[in-house]
Subunit: 212 residues, 2 copies
Amino acid sequence: MKALSRRQQAIYDFIARFLDDNDYPPTIRDIQRELGISSTSVVDYNLKVLEERAMIRRNRNISRGIEVLGRHTSRRNVISIPVIGQIAAGLPIPVPDDLALGDATDMVEIGSDIVGNAPRDLFALRVKGHSMVDALINDGDIVLLHAQETCENGETVAVWLKEQKETTLKRFYLEGDRVRLQPANVTMDPIYTTADNVAIQGKLVSVVRSIV
Amino acid sequence: MKALSRRQQAIYDFIARFLDDNDYPPTIRDIQRELGISSTSVVDYNLKVLEERAMIRRNRNISRGIEVLGRHTSRRNVISIPVIGQIAAGLPIPVPDDLALGDATDMVEIGSDIVGNAPRDLFALRVKGHSMVDALINDGDIVLLHAQETCENGETVAVWLKEQKETTLKRFYLEGDRVRLQPANVTMDPIYTTADNVAIQGKLVSVVRSIV
DNA sequence: ACTTGACACGAACATGTGTTCGTCCCTATA
DNA sequence: TATAGGGACGAACACATGTTCGTGTCAAGT
């Protein structure tokens, strides 16, 4: 396949740049003006070329109907998850009551391929302290949880131990009438307790660490 | 502040939904048609109300110039990073040669607040094996690296040990004429080697773990 | 020289779209 | 009852924007 002409490349780059700045696509005349092209028909012509090469999609007769393919078709696959509080060994997990929109002070954006196919009922907590290093989770990490009060055996869940008044993140196994909470670190011993002492707060979906 | 009327809420919701589906904002007449409103002026009127309440921004005289505030203004803060290969103890890191656009088989989307202020020269590798558990990094994790061949003392970097033919992820300290590579796990001993034996491949920026 | 194809021009043309205006229908309030 | 304000109508109006068409240029083949 022949390479794109300089002008075609410039047009493509401009559209991408424009999209980063504006939230809506450029018009043909925006492109024309920016690149100093003398006629809209020239832009139209080159846009058609770009479309044939599947680099963009055009929606006919719709103003600003240019979509950039290739790069992150974006938005669709990205989920915003509210960081509603902290998780620490000695504190109960804040309940994701009204995780409506925007009322969380902080948000985490992440691709949906990371968090799986459950965009709903997700919330995030910032880890405080080193109580979960055995689960390879560090102080300052952000854990993404799926709000649920039950789970399958073997899943890693955030549980509140009523008696000990303690939050912990462990693999959950129901064994007869007792519960085994298995640390991720295989060299550490599991905790055994009764089923009515544990309150499952959510299932671990993802961990995100940001290095300063 | 008074609540939004049912119609205003519907308009706001529709714009958000439209944006999810189309990559470009709706026109006033799109809104009119969808909600069965008889006149464009009604839409205009309600749009003005929404704008006064800072729920949207309108760009005057620009077609489809509606921007939804509040929710993830999206795109802007999200970065797509190519996963260009694997990182394992015994393998050299694949060089991010042509991390152009889209030629990577896999991409990771993540908010720019997580990866810091360096959107460029970022690449990602999937961790293979348990050689980095001491850095709280598990098998299957994705590490985000900033491509660079030098670093400051104390930064965590991916280095290739030429002599040992081995990749490792450690804190880097240049001490006189030798290099100390300090595992994140404080209970483990550091590695000492000569400066010309280490080739810095990139600086650790973030770690993302996806639980099945 | 002749043809062909990739590109570029410029000028209309036809809609797409935002804006404005006068009017009307309610409900709450004085 | 009179009045004011939120909200809705419908019809223009004006310009923003996509589309089309006839021409021109230039380099590569033939």
